[in-house]
């Protein structure tokens, strides 16, 4: 009746079967229309069925040609809806886990229940518990139709019953056939499969098939490292003791022990045999160690390590290959030929960056260490990634180099760096009570600012960004004081060289607190005005991690009937004009969680030696001052006068040194030792050490109000600034050792835990200084870095020594760390 290959016109489309969907919706969805021409078994029909299947809503779909006339046809679409999930009950697991299971398997009401859904859920849940050591987990899933349902659709309830059984522990691991390596050594090789042991706390004894399989490979690797290159696992079996314990029996065949014979290099023209041998560091007669050999040829764990491959890859030989070949195995001695195909040196052809939705090209390209026309170098690519990360505009973990179009014939290669912008602006808006009243703070800091777009309305998204400049504004005010500060810096002033120009301006006014009226006395105030100009240049010598910075700063203190602890006079002024020169070397690989590199800085801050020429006899003044009694009101006035003379222009020099190192001890676990030292001195001993610019040791290290040039030095385990005299110390030193472990280094937040031991001391005079007579502490802490908030942290430190003036050790202190990066 129906003719194959004949075109029929659709007369009518009907939908039948057990479906709750609107017929017209189904027809539209099938893309078949009245009046369309169709062929039986043709593409159009097949597409309609495919489309309907694709909706995942139906359990059965049939398409019929009915009422076939001369050249017209009716089409019947017969459908059966898949049952929808109504309710799920999970049995046999903790309540808290139920939601997790439902979520992970997408067992939600209204989900269509297919066989596939049931099977995958079953397997997923079983594996989930097996991975946790519940080796005997059984999962059963049954569905039952909802009876007397008011809804037209077919719906089912689901029961998921989980029988976790007992947690299975490994009672024993038995090795057979191991004559050369001890059981102990082999058990150690199984990194994640361990025997029951009440002492071990970090790794639980459980059996997870996947990690067991991996461990068997590392078992063989252990053999290989010891010269047994033929070693293999002949069999391994699980012995079930009872529901709770199993034993593993592993039967190995060790084979013979091999040693390295002669090692020849073949094909090397760039480097001499001798040079390559020095990198390989494997000699004739050494125990054969395939793992070590592989590592010395190409160490995959350390892309910047010292190995043969890097000596080629870092100097242009992208297309080089290095293969060790065993040329003869005479008995147990293996002669090797290291065959090197050097290839043509490769040069970068195009170098690109993508993903910079905010930052302008010129800010990025100037930092690249791989440029068009240059010799290919893997080390330079790695360094580029590190330095782009350090800019702070991109997520350091997500910078990826894409090496494209390698062309061995022309000797060219392209590289494209993919970056992911990260929020580099911070807004601080806070209000709180402190210092006897309400304090409001507004802080804005933009680290990828674009000053040239400041009048461009379109660039406000929400602030003009992308030129790598930084701009910060901070306003803080309470009844007692007001502080305004502004700073700006451009890292490549002029755009030609990495010559940083920075400037900052600050002003603060403080009123005297009147204890009688309990209000600030607005007629008595203390003003500080500060201006700083600085420049910084990246150096090329001795290596290009160095930065030389210089700055000139001026501060003016002015007192109006204001008696503070800082000055012995209530009316007067003081000027601080100083020049700072600092040399720093920074080679850390990540600004937030460094795992490698170090940070050194040394600086000197100097004023002019005014006393050399201003003709004031400070000797006499000093003698007079010493003869006076500060508690005698008349004498106090005179002391004030003398001090005004001494502090008209502050005369001092200050030297500081600071260093910290970062080393990855094991995977991601980072050790950070650091030392620091500071000294504040006077050119003229009779004029004396100024009461400004001093060091305050102890506590969280957060400086909140530091316009007198004071330096707050962190020493956890003690109250803030408790380890220096009230006016501040002139010498300090500090040692610290920190161990850090990352909890997450994701994009949204970077979190790490740390533990530390540290110690430090500060004194007022050099003759009291003893770098080993320190106050010690130890403790634990946590740091959270989120792009919008900056750094937040908490440390619990235990001070082992008494703070000055006390006898008992200080004990526990809690420190909150906000916004400070170190």
């Amino acid at each position: 009746q129906i003719e194959n290959g004949k075109k029929y016109t659709i007369n009518e489309i009907v939908v039948t079967g057990n479906t709750s969907f609107n017929a017209s919706t189904i027809i539209t969805f099938s893309r078949l229309k009245k009046g369309d021409e169709v062929i039986f078994g043709g593409e159009k029909v097949a597409d309609a069925v495919k489309k309907l299947w694709g909706s995942n809503l139906f359990g059965a779909i049939d398409l019929y040609f009915i009422n076939i006339k001369e050249d017209t046809v009716d089409i019947e679409i017969k459908l059966t809806d898949l049952p929808e999930l109504n309710e799920v009950r999970v049995e046999g697991v903790k309540k808290g886990k139920i939601d997790e299971i439902l979520e992970e398997n997408n067992l939600k009401p209204k989900v269509k229940v297919t066989e596939n859904l049931i099977t995958t859920s079953k397997n997923y849940i079983a594996n989930k518990y097996k991975d946790k050591g519940f080796l005997n987990t059984k999962v059963n899933i049954v569905t039952a139709e909802v009876k007397n349902d008011s809804v037209e659709k077919q719906r089912v309830n689901m029961l998921v019953s989980v029988d976790k059984g007992q947690k299975v522990k490994i009672k024993n691991i038995v090795f057979e056939g191991n004559d050369q390596l001890s059981d102990k050594k082999l058990r150690k090789a199984l990194k994640n499969t361990k025997r029951k042991n009440p002492i071990r706390v970090l790794k639980r004894s459980k059996y997870v098939e996947e990690s067991y399989k991996e461990d068997l490979i590392s078992l063989i690797d252990t053999y290989k490292e010891n010269g047994f290159r033929d070693a293999r696992v002949i069999s391994d079996s699980i012995i079930y003791h009872d529901d709770e314990t199993i034993s593993l029996a592993i039967n190995v065949e060790e084979g013979e022990k091999y040693t390295f014979g002669k090692i020849d290099f073949v094909g090397n023209t760039v480097y001499s045999d001798r040079f390559l041998q020095q990198i390989l560091r494997i000699n004739e007669g050494d125990t054969y160690n395939g793992v070590l050999l592989k590592k010395r040829i190409a160490n995959e764990e350390r892309p910047d390590g010292i190995d043969l491959t890097n000596y080629y890859q870092n100097f242009g030989y992208l297309f080089s290959t290095i293969n060790p070949v065993e040329v003869s195995a005479d008995g147990n001695v293996i002669d090797l030929e290291i065959r090197i195909s050097e290839g043509k040196p490769a040069y970068f052809n195009t170098v690109g960056v993508k993903g910079n939705d905010i930052t302008n090209d010129h800010v990025i390209y100037r930092e690249l260490r791989t440029r068009p026309g240059e010799l290919y170098s893997r080390a330079n690519i790695i360094r580029t990634i590190r330095e782009l990360g350090q800019l702070g505009f991109f997520d350091a973990q997500q910078i990826v180099p894409d090496i494209k179009n390698p062309n061995p014939v022309d000797g060219t290669v392209d590289v494209e760096y993919t970056v992911v912008e990260r929020g580099s602006s911070q807004i601080e808006l806070q209000g709180g009570f402190g210092g006897g009243g309400f304090i409001g703070t507004l802080g804005l800091s933009f680290n990828n600012f674009s000053i040239k777009n400041i009048f461009n309305k379109k660039a406000y998204t929400p602030v003009p960004r992308g030129d790598g400049q930084s701009l910060a504004l901070r306003l803080q005010a309470s009844q007692l004081f007001q502080t305004y500060s502004f700073s700006f810096s451009e890292p490549w002033f002029g755009g030609k060289k990495p010559f940083q120009l920075s400037t900052s301006l600050s002003y603060s006014r403080q009123f005297l607190f009147d204890p009688v009226t309990t209000r600030p006395d607005r007629d008595r105030n203390f003003d500080i005005l500060g201006i700083t100009f600085g420049v910084a240049t990246k150096l090329k010598e001795p290596d290009d991690f160095f930065l030389l910075s210089q700055s000139i700063s001026y501060q003016n203190y002015s007192l109006n009937n204001f008696n503070s602890g800082l000055f012995t006079f209530g009316d007067g002024f003081s000027n601080n004009l100083s020049y700072t020169i600092a040399l720093t070397r920074n080679s850390v690989n990540d600004p937030i969680y460094p795992t490698q590199g170090s940070n050194f800085s040394t600086s000197a801050k100097l004023s002019l030696p005014y006393s050399l020429w201003n003709g004031v006899d400070y000797d006499e003044l000093s003698e007079e001052r010493n003869s006076l009694d500060i508690n005698d009101p008349n004498d106090a006035v005179r002391i004030g006068e003398i001090d005004q003379e001494r502090f008209k222009w502050l005369e001092f020099y200050k030297v500081k040194f600071k260093a910290d190192w970062y080393t990855e001890v094991t995977d991601k676990l980072v050790l950070r030792p650091s030392v620091e030292f500071g000294f504040l001195g006077a050119y003229n001993n009779n004029r004396g050490v100024i009461p400004f610019e001093r060091f305050f040791l102890g506590g969280d290290g957060l400086g909140n109000f530091s316009l007198d040039g004071r330096e707050i030095i962190q020493l956890r385990g003690y109250p803030n600034q408790s380890l220096s005299s009230p006016d501040g110390a002139s010498i300090y030193n500090k040692f610290s050792l920190e161990l850090r472990y990352p909890i997450t280094l994701g994009q949204g937040a970077k979190i790490y835990a740390l533990s530390f031991v540290e110690g430090g001391a500060s004194v007022d005079r050099f003759r009291d200084f003893n770098p080993f007579n320190i106050q010690r502490s130890a403790g634990l802490g946590l740091r959270i870095f989120m792009p919008a908030f900056g750094l937040l942290g908490i440390d619990f430190g235990h001070g082992f020594d008494p703070i000055p003036g006390q006898i008992q050790k200080n004990g526990w202190e809690t420190h909150f760390i906000i916004g400070q990066q170190f």
Binding site: T25, N349, D357, D361, H362, R366, R371, P372, G466, K496
Partner: protein, 253 residues
């Protein structure tokens, strides 16, 4: 406004449709968009959906939400291949992507995408009334990519990496043979090679001066009347004097 609130809060989808259409015709794109947003799922598969989806996409376009309008118009064009609005929707979709393209100095993924979409449009509707405009947009986007490559190459010269600059200009001239910046690129390539030559140690000078003179000759041959020519001539003269000095020095030693 009251009518809008009523429609907005009502459960009557027909009322929302009607009011939305009215607002749409009156140019109240934002309000219309809010109403359409509510009812689009309800009309899926219904005959009115064609008009609704068009208006919905257009209301995004008019409120400059180009990222969404690009997607919505694209969907409309593929869902209703027989619609009389299909050509317009296809064009506006491509144009939406054009609007998403950022300034040349930032990542150009969107530019590349917009170029692709515009090209597809031109291929699908070779006789379209929007053809001139589409070509205009393509030209503008192409220029953005040229300008990007040009500025990067120029910056290398600025930061004293002359070799990278020359190499980048060479790549530029290969990649964009018909560029508006062709002349500038040839001039700046010469300038970078001049800088490289004059800042080289004596042993390398002669060869690099040769290369620079070569780039000068190519530039002059292509653009004999360029406004840069006078400066270029001066620089070339400078190179020639240096050459004689260097040659003299080299022969002496």
């Amino acid at each position: 406004c009251n009518d809008f609130q009523k429609a907005f809060k009502s459960d009557d989808i027909a009322l929302k449709f009607e009011k939305g259409t009215e607002l749409f015709d009156a140019g109240e794109w934002k309000k219309a968009n809010r109403l359409f947003e509510q009812i689009v799922p309800n009309y899926r598969g219904k005959p009115q959906a064609e008009k609704l989806l068009y208006m919905h996409a257009m209301s995004f376009y008019k409120t400059e939400k180009y990222f969404i309008s690009g997607y919505q118009f694209e969907r409309f064009a593929s869902s209703y291949p027989n619609s009389e609005k299909q050509e317009e929707a296809a064009f506006l979709s491509a144009k939406s992507y054009y609007y998403e393209s950022p300034i040349y100095s930032k990542a150009q993924e969107e530019t590349t995408k917009a170029l692709e979409k515009l090209q597809i449009f031109i291929n699908s509707f070779p006789n379209s009334e929007y053809l001139t405009e589409a070509n205009q947009l393509i030209k503008e986007l192409d220029f953005k990519l040229e300008k990007k490559a040009f500025e990067v190459a120029k910056q290398y010269n600025r930061i004293y990496d002359y070799k990278a600059s020359i190499k980048s200009f060479n790549n530029f001239l290969l990649d964009f043979p018909g560029s508006e910046l062709h002349k500038d690129a040839m001039y700046y390539r010469f300038l970078a090679s001049y800088n490289l030559a004059t800042n080289s140690i004596d042993a390398l000078k002669e060869e690099r001066i040769q290369e620079a003179v070569n780039y000068y000759n190519i530039f002059k041959k292509n653009y004999p009347n360029s406004e840069y020519l006078k400066t270029a001539d001066d620089l070339k003269k400078d190179l020639e004097t240096t050459t004689s000095v260097t040659v003299a020095n080299n022969t002496k030693s």
